[in-house]
């Protein structure tokens, strides 16, 4: 028995990380259900879910239970095996890249030499879940929605790749940990050196995850519901979870490549060191105070009980910050997750703000604007780096000269008058 344990010992810590990451991602996906509905509601000056728990906090549980209890329909004439397993492909392609993502500097995630390439490659395998799900439904609307979604994904993948290449020019390494550490070494985040690439990456991530304003393939007023029309119950929840996890992955990629990963903003200014301890304390403390305040306004005993539980959790989190050693252990993860949640909030914000692109407008934007600007960015960034070697120029100066040229190209491209054909 002890021999088995000794043989398993090197695998225990990675297995624990896998379990924690998987559970954490599922929790984030579930929390996103509530966050999205609440934020969208407040953007539209209404309240959102308020009944299920206090302020709708238990809404994810209600949604998950509803989806699990729905009838599992397989359409007649559908290819049964592929219909059943297409959502699995999407979920696997969305969850697997998180094995490569380093959440903190002491994370035991393997430092693969080609980390960012493998991440983009594996996450792009989610396309097959969409294609096969749409085809296996044996129905017109899902097939059309799947093909449109695939065309959109493939088009914006090219722009995404070029945006990442501009970052790689600066970081000289493909490994994710190396990119974050290069930002620490240079003392400046890549978003300040390559803002055009950041913009392109963000827009391409919106298109890659089928989010507004690029959500035509799954919009309810367009193709019924796109590729997941025929899916109900648990399989629909798998597609749903895959979409939220892909959003989280896109946010993680943007955080690592452009926002410095697990570093505190202004990490080099010693005077702001109090933020390391102060900001988590502030956030958890405010949460505790708000939960306690709401206990006195609770509508029903169940709501009161739930609020007491949440207040206890928040107080426990706040208290745990004072335990010596906890702050160093989770400091990196805290800043990383803060940035990821900021991106997720922006994803939801865009959904509540922008109208949808029509499909031909979407494709034109991708091929006629995004890809040329991304290519111009790579070229001018490389030229800027060469310029930075000359005497009298430093890195920021050279790169920003390149950025100026790219912005000129982007403005010229965006200002073109497009005459629609009148047929």
């Amino acid at each position: 028995m002890t021999q088995v344990l000794e043989a398993l010992r090197p695998y225990l810590l990675p297995a624990a990380r896998v379990v924690i990451a998987f559970l954490g991602l599922s929790l984030i996906a579930a929390a996103m259900i509530w966050i999205e509905r609440k934020v969208l509601a407040h953007l539209q000056v209404r309240l959102g879910p308020m009944r299920v728990g206090p302020h709708g906090l238990l809404q994810p549980i209600a949604d998950v239970v509803k989806l699990l209890l729905k009838e599992d329909i397989v359409p007649a004439g559908a290819d049964r095996f592929i219909f059943l397993y297409a959502p699995v492909i999407s979920v696997v392609a969305a969850f697997t890249p998180f094995a490569l993502v380093p959440f903190a500097s002491n994370d035991i995630a393997p430092d693969v030499n080609v980390g960012i390439l493998l991440l983009i490659g594996i996450s792009s395998l989610g396309i097959f879940g969409i294609i096969l799900g749409g085809w296996a439904s044996n129905s017109h609307y899902p097939l059309l929605g799947a093909l449109r979604s695939t065309a959109q994904l493939v088009s914006y993948e090219v722009a995404l790749g070029f945006a990442i290449v501009s970052v790689l020019l600066l970081s000289n390494t493909l490994s994710l940990r190396g990119i974050v550490e290069k930002q620490a070494e240079l003392g400046i985040w890549f978003v300040f050196l390559q803002p055009v690439a950041f913009f392109i990456l963000f827009v391409a991530s919106l298109a890659e995850t089928n989010r507004n304003p690029f959500d035509l393939p799954e919009a309810e007023s367009e193709l019924v519901a796109g590729f997941h029309t025929e899916y109900s119950g648990f399989r629909f929840s798998l597609f749903f979870m895959a979409e939220y996890t892909a959003m989280a992955l896109a946010s993680c990629v943007a955080t690592m490549l452009f926002l410095g990963g697990w570093q505190r903003p202004f990490a080099s200014i010693r005077a702001l060191d109090f933020l390391d301890f102060g900001l988590p304390l502030l956030i958890f403390g405010l949460a505790t105070v708000w939960f306690v305040k709401e206990i006195f306004h609770a509508v029903s005993p169940t709501h009161r009980a739930v609020l007491v539980v949440f207040a206890g959790l928040a107080a426990g989190l706040t208290g745990s910050l004072f335990v010596p050693g906890v702050m160093e252990a989770i400091g990196g993860v805290f800043w990383f997750l803060l940035k990821v949640f900021a991106f997720l909030f922006v994803f939801i914000w865009f959904r509540g703000t922008f109208p949808r692109y029509r499909f031909d407008q979407l494709m034109r934007l991708g091929w006629h604007f995004m890809i040329p600007v991304a290519i111009a960015n790579v070229i001018f960034c490389a030229l800027g780096l060469i310029l930075a070697q000359r005497p009298g120029w430093n890195l920021e100066g050279g790169v920003w000269a390149g950025n100026a040229a790219t912005l000129l190209v982007a403005i010229l491209l965006a200002g073109r008058r497009r005459y629609e054909r009148v047929v």
Binding site: D79, I82, V112, N113, V114, L117, L118, I120, G121, I122, S124, L125, I127, F128, I131, L132, W135, L143, A146, L147, T150, A151, V154, E157, L174
Partner: protein, 167 residues
């Protein structure tokens, strides 16, 4: 049997099994899915051969590009409903026999020459850093083939667009 050897046999078995599925399935969509599995196991083999850059390139380009193209064509042109026919043609037995003769020839050749492949194995870190070495070799030694390959891609892109356009 170390993990390294076990992974080779696993990936090799999956590759051969799914390759057999590719050539025997009646429905072209099933063939395409089997080909995706084959390409994934070949990517696993590349990882095992310390070629991580090529494994990533295989996943992004071959599976995420070429196979999406195949599936797109099969589904867009609705080819899967037009081909519920006899999968194999008249030459099945002759061609199968000839291919097996080819396999036997290759097998015998490799078996007889197996001593020639037992050069001392390079240390496992000989090909690191993989990406940088490939980049240097590509841009310093093989610059002309690289430029010709990009011209080839341009010509192929133009040809495919022109041929698939609606007249």
């Amino acid at each position: 049997m170390t993990f390294y050897q076990a992974s080779f046999y696993f990936f090799a078995a999956v590759a051969v099994a799914s390759a057999l599925l590719v050539v025997t399935r009646r429905n072209p969509v099933h063939s395409a899915i089997s080909l995706i599995v084959t390409l994934l196991s070949v990517a696993g083999l590349y990882l095992q051969l310390q070629a991580e850059f090529l494994a990533a390139v295989q996943i992004i380009l071959y599976i995420g590009g070429v196979m999406v193209l195949f599936l797109f064509v099969i589904l867009l042109v609705r080819l899967e409903v037009t081909v519920r026919q006899e999968p194999f043609n008249r030459q099945l037995w002759i061609a199968g026999f000839a291919a097996l003769v080819l396999l036997a020839e290759l097998g015998v050749a490799f078996y007889l020459a197996r001593g020639g492949f037992s050069l001392p194995a390079a240390p496992p870190t000989a090909l690191q850093p993989n990406t940088e070495l490939i980049g240097r070799t590509l841009y310093q030694n093989y610059l002309l083939p690289f430029e010709i390959a990009s011209l080839l891609l341009l010509v192929a892109m133009m040809g495919a667009v022109i041929m698939a356009k609606q007249r």
